[in-house]
Amino acid sequence: MSDYLVQFNNISKFFGKVIALKDVTMRLKKGEIMCLLGDNGAGKSTLIKTLAGVHKPDEGEIIFEDNKIVFDSPKDALDIGIGTVYQDLALVPLMSVTRNFFMGREPQKGIPFLKTFDVEKANKIAADRMGQIGIDVRDPSQAVGTMSGGERQCLAISRAIYFGAKVLVLDEPTSALGVHQASMVLKYIVKAASEGLAVILITHNVHHAYPVGNSFTVLNRGKSMGTFQKKDISREKLLSMMAGGEELDKLEVELQEMDRIHNKN
């Protein structure tokens, strides 16, 4: 058995002539937080959807706990334990915390054909789970719309974990949040990893990623620029890599050149 919980080896995805992903490799151990960094258009969304089973990779293989697997639908990925929390969180603001928590997977009780949604049990679990991450939901029947952005994010993550995620794929969990809220979410992510989950944190915010990540994979124009352990790379280097550092360097040179010509005249 290898060290890795999940491996995505040489994943490629093409849409017609467009190469959305080419030879992207990511390997995660239990308890590891891997940050997937990339600018807009780097192929992050395509990669997430491939991990979540929405897209089938055209090349490459997914190995989960030493077994090679093929996802035919998002449900397959869910069943095996890859829980994806999308940017829109799949929460309905008008519905209660409990009803959101168990949406699509409601606990039932009673006799067949007359089964009822076990609201008491659901309320208890939801309040319990939220309590574990420090969010005191006094009334689990309150609407999710009344919660803050960070709390909603935590609810969505907590739900994915409760329903058996071993690998958490988080799509920009902090992008819409302020510093305080973002730190609350990041803290929760670290806690989840410390309990043995592997986390893929997709973000374009190095400042959020660097403190919590163990390793960093940088995606640029559909290609992986490599995976780096935290000790091997600085925040600045990461930043310049993902922002297309070379391009910025080039721009700087050009600007200096223009400046020089201008001064000559």
């Binding site: 998002p74 449900k75 869910l78 999308y86 829109d88 969180l89 799949a90 929460l91 309905v92 603001p93 008008l94 519905m95 009803r99 168990f102 949406m103 699509g104 997977r105 409601e106 039932q108 089964k115 009822t116 949604f117 609201v119 420090g134 969010i135 005191d136 006094r138 009334d139 309150q142 609407a143 719309g145 009344t146 919660m147 803050s148 952005g149 709390e151 739900r159 510093v179 305080h180 973002a182 730190s183 609350m184 990041l186 803290k187 400042h207 959020h208 403190p211 919590v212």
Partner: protein, 375 residues
């Protein structure tokens, strides 16, 4: 930077910052979707109690009269409300009523089918129509407004064309004689609790005819159906998994799909629900009148939607209640009958209906903002 703020945000600060604000009990009450309609019903009863308290509106006979009208509307309003919570509309309810009417009458009168078979046939057609509406909306992604508007015309046209083709007229009378001894028709045509009214009549507590029998003979079937459907729909919405799926499908289609809710199946079943409710409505009315009319149910879809909206349903879906829609129907039913007992010209009923709906929408919007307000 993040690390630092991470350590600062301890659990206690979270509690103090964001969770300490007490929600007042009034606010909790305001969050219930049916509150507006309940309050409205009480106001309507107080109003007519003052204006028409001594006119016979609140005699047993008068009350059954406006309850019957409310109940008929309520049967379709509840189904419409459930569909609206699920995020869709059905404008073909009224046409379906007319269509179901002739589906009962023509086979029974012209083809010699037993009445129960015609009734089963009408319900089968309703399931088909509802399924078609649903599958069209789900598969094409078109707004249900357009799809069911098309169905409104198609069904009404079919009803008229088929009836005229087969009977040469637009009405099919002669059903009343078939009701007796039919194994199914009694479900839609029997007054219940007759003994209660006879007893009350013998005590001279309710109005009597000149021959000594009570004027109000029993609870009409519509009222029983109305109560049963209200309870059933409320049970589904509040107490079952399927109910949660209805809210989820209407609240956020994409999100619901992502967590495994079969949104398409939920919506299709709700469209079948409105068509079946229309058929229940049609059975009651056709068997009561003894005849089917091609124009029966015209504009009922709009009244049903109005009652659902007054009952707290949001036009955008994901929020509302069956009890609310029931009270919405009671408001409309009571006013439409009660207006006869006042000096007000009945022409004003529609004005009231419109104004009531407008007030309800403004009120609902306000409530929705309150419910989803971020702290």
């Amino acid at each position: 930077m993040s690390l630092k703020s991470k350590s600062i945000s301890s659990k206690s600060s979270l509690n103090e910052d964001e969770r300490l604000k007490k929600i007042s009990s009034l606010r909790v009450l305001l969050n219930r979707p049916e509150l507006g309609a309940l309050g409205g019903s009480i106001l309507v009863f107080i109003f007519f109690g003052i204006v028409a308290g001594d006119t016979g509106m609140f005699s047993a006979y008068g009350m059954l009269n406006f309850l019957d009208v409310s109940a008929n509307l309520g049967i379709i309003a509840i189904a419409a409300a459930m569909l609206m919570i699920g995020g869709e509309f059905d404008l073909s309810i009224g046409s379906m009523i007319g269509f179901a009417g002739i589906c009962i009458a023509i086979p029974a009168i012209y083809w010699g089918w037993p009445l129960w078979m015609s009734i089963v046939f009408a319900f089968a057609m309703a399931v088909l129509v509802g399924y078609f509406n649903g599958i069209m909306v789900v598969k094409t992604g078109l707004p249900s407004f357009i799809v069911t508007l098309a169905m409104l015309f198609i069904l009404r046209g079919l009803t008229l064309a088929i009836t005229r083709l087969i009977t040469g007229r637009t009405q099919v009378p002669g059903l009343r004689v078939l009701i007796e001894d039919d194994p199914l028709a009694w479900l839609f045509a029997t007054d219940t609790f007759k003994w209660l009214f006879t007893w009350l009549g013998s005590l001279k507590l309710i109005e009597l005819r000149t021959d000594g029998t009570p004027l109000a003979t029993g609870i009409p079937p519509s009222v029983i159906w109305f109560i049963a459907l209200t309870l059933f729909a409320t049970w589904i919405l509040m107490k079952t998994r399927y109910g949660n799926w209805i809210f989820a499908s209407g609240g956020d289609k994409v999100g619901a799909t992502n967590v495994g809710v079969p949104v398409g199946r939920v919506k299709i079943s709700l469209f079948i629900g409105t068509a079946v409710a229309s058929t229940i409505f049609a059975c009651i009315q056709v068997l009561d009148a003894g005849s089917a009319d091609t124009m029966r149910g015209t504009l009922k879809e709009l009244e049903a939607i109005a009652a659902a909206v007054v009952g707290g349903c949001l036009l955008t879906g994901g929020y509302g209640s069956a009890i609310g829609a029931a009270f919405g129907a009671i408001i409309f039913g009571t006013v439409s009958m009660g207006i006869f007992y006042t000096d007000v010209d009945t022409d004003w009923f529609k004005v009231f209906l419109g104004a009531m709906m407008l007030i309800a929408v403004v009120f609902n919007n306000y409530i929705r903002k309150k419910v989803t307000e971020s702290k």
